[in-house]
């Protein structure tokens, strides 16, 4: 017998006498009688259940369940955290904030569903409304293995007395397969092994971003939207500042000003966007050598992250490239 089964055996408990259960139930019923019979929610006439002939079956059920919750004085989000169709959601001051358990369920459902699939990430840093840096990342992932194709575009600042500078673009292809990181440079694959291999990736596994969604962000529903024929619920954070940078180092270190997430009717996140602002300054010396304080110009820059998931749950295969050269790869 193995240890686990021994432990299970050790937890065996004899059934109590039937009177034990009967007594407990009797105490409960007396307690219910002492606090009074609860009032049916629709009896008061204030909150009647609507007939929802145009709705799909799951939403009819969820709305019916919402009536239960209203009766108990608990947030609507506990039952149907994604939708606002009952009229209890919405962006107004009375919109219900998703309960912590609902947020946790959403995160868990998404992490489970995102065991395989694809994601497209667009990360843009802007200054004065113009893009400065832009990452476009196409990720395919299966478990911990992933392939990420990164296109990086840099927009040099315009010259005051010259032609506009052209943006420069570079691409890279990275893979993480069975604990090893691979990178292709000039047609040659390089492989990095060892415990720190995952740190060579440009971005972590996209599903890890979902884990940064916190109940304290105060998500509220803005209603249903049709995205490519699929009805998604749009959730928006009332308190996005708590979300940090979603674990994407160096891309959003400022103050989060907006966070939106779109969720399907299974509670799986299909898209998430985040905006943060940060202040940067450019200081120039007006004399050489600098004999007066430098003149500094500050701008409020913006970083945005837009992540769209696709083919969620579809089998994906990420294989190690052949002929990869072991050891640390050369830098660009």
């Amino acid at each position: 017998m193995d240890a686990f089964h021994s432990l299970r055996e050790a937890g065996t408990v004899d059934d109590p006498a039937p009177e034990v259960f009967e007594r407990a139930e009797q105490i409960l019923l007396e307690y219910i009688a002492s606090v009074g019979r609860p009032t049916a929610p629709w009896a008061s006439g204030h909150r009647r259940l609507k007939l929802l002939s145009g709705w799909s079956q799951p939403y009819r059920w969820l709305s019916a369940a919402a009536v239960f919750v209203v009766a108990g004085g608990v947030a609507f989000a506990v039952i149907n955290p994604w939708g606002s169709s009952s009229g209890l959601g919405g962006s107004g001051p009375s919109a219900q904030v998703l309960s912590p358990s609902s947020v946790r369920l959403m995160v868990d459902a998404t992490v489970a569903a995102l065991n395989s699939g694809a994601a497209q990430m667009n990360i843009t840093q802007s200054a004065g409304g113009s893009p400065v840096n832009q990452f476009s990342v196409d990720v395919t992932f299966s478990g911990e293995n992933l392939d990420e194709a990164v296109t990086f575009t840099s927009y040099p600042p315009s010259q005051s007395n010259g032609p506009p500078s052209n943006p420069s673009t570079s691409t890279s292809d990275l893979r993480f397969v069975d604990g090893s990181a691979y990178r292709q440079l000039a047609g040659q694959w390089y492989v990095e092994t060892g415990p720190n291999a995952s740190t060579f990736l440009t971005f972590p596994n996209p599903r890890s971003f979902v884990n940064h969604i916190s109940p304290s962000a105060d998500l509220v529903s803005l209603g249903q939207v049709d995205v490519g024929g699929e009805e998604l619920t749009h959730l928006q954070a009332r308190n996005p500042v708590v979300l940090g940078n979603l674990g994407i180092d160096g891309t959003a270190d400022g103050t989060d000003t907006a966070f939106d997430v779109w969720v399907d009717n299974k509670g799986v996140v299909q898209r998430m966007t985040m905006t943060d602002t940060y202040r940067t300054g450019v200081c120039v010396s007006e004399t050489t050598p600098a004999t007066v304080p430098m003149h500094c110009t500050y701008t409020d820059d913006t970083g945005t992250i837009d992540i769209k998931f696709s083919n969620v749950g579809s089998p994906e295969t990420v294989v190690a490239p052949v002929g990869a050269i072991p050891g640390s790869w050369p830098s660009n």
Partner: protein, 210 residues
Amino acid sequence: MVKEECNALVVSRLVQSEMSTWSEMDTDAQLIGWAIAGDSEAFAQLVRRHQGPVYAYLARRAGSPAAEDLLADVWMAAFRSRASFDARWDSARPWLFGIARNSLRKHWARLRKEDAVQDETSDPWPEVEDRLAASVIVGNLSAALNALSPEQREVLLLVAWEELTPTEIALVLGIPASTVRSHLHRARRSLLGDTTPLSAAETSHYCKET
């Protein structure tokens, strides 16, 4: 009956009548729905459905005499908080175990009331170990169980004794399911006598998800 049909039935019942017509075939979520709507007998049906496992959960941790006393406390607490039940769970068992866990905490706090400071997060393991000491089977496991953190031990016991899934344990303990899996993984390794550190890949995997 598929779930959608079942749900539609609940809706029609709600729309057509205030009278409760729950059946033994109803899911826990439906019974709690009826209880919220005012039918205490539906809640009693839920109690009968889960009284055995909830009693066993209490008895394994506090002993049979205390479990007999605590059982009614759990039902009353569950009734008071019935509106907090997440109706997307068909089974109420994890939710009831969470309530039972709170009752146990209060029970242990009462037992330690002579202490100046009541520790809400106190580890109940010494009491459980005392009870298990009488079991010959667990003898060799005692050291391994003692070596676990309280969180790892609780997760392991919820799997071994209550046969809950990590997702259900997450609901009982109020922690992410990924954290539960991490605790369970480490606890199982420890139980098997594997004291080697987690590999980097394992560490990375579990840390990313927690």
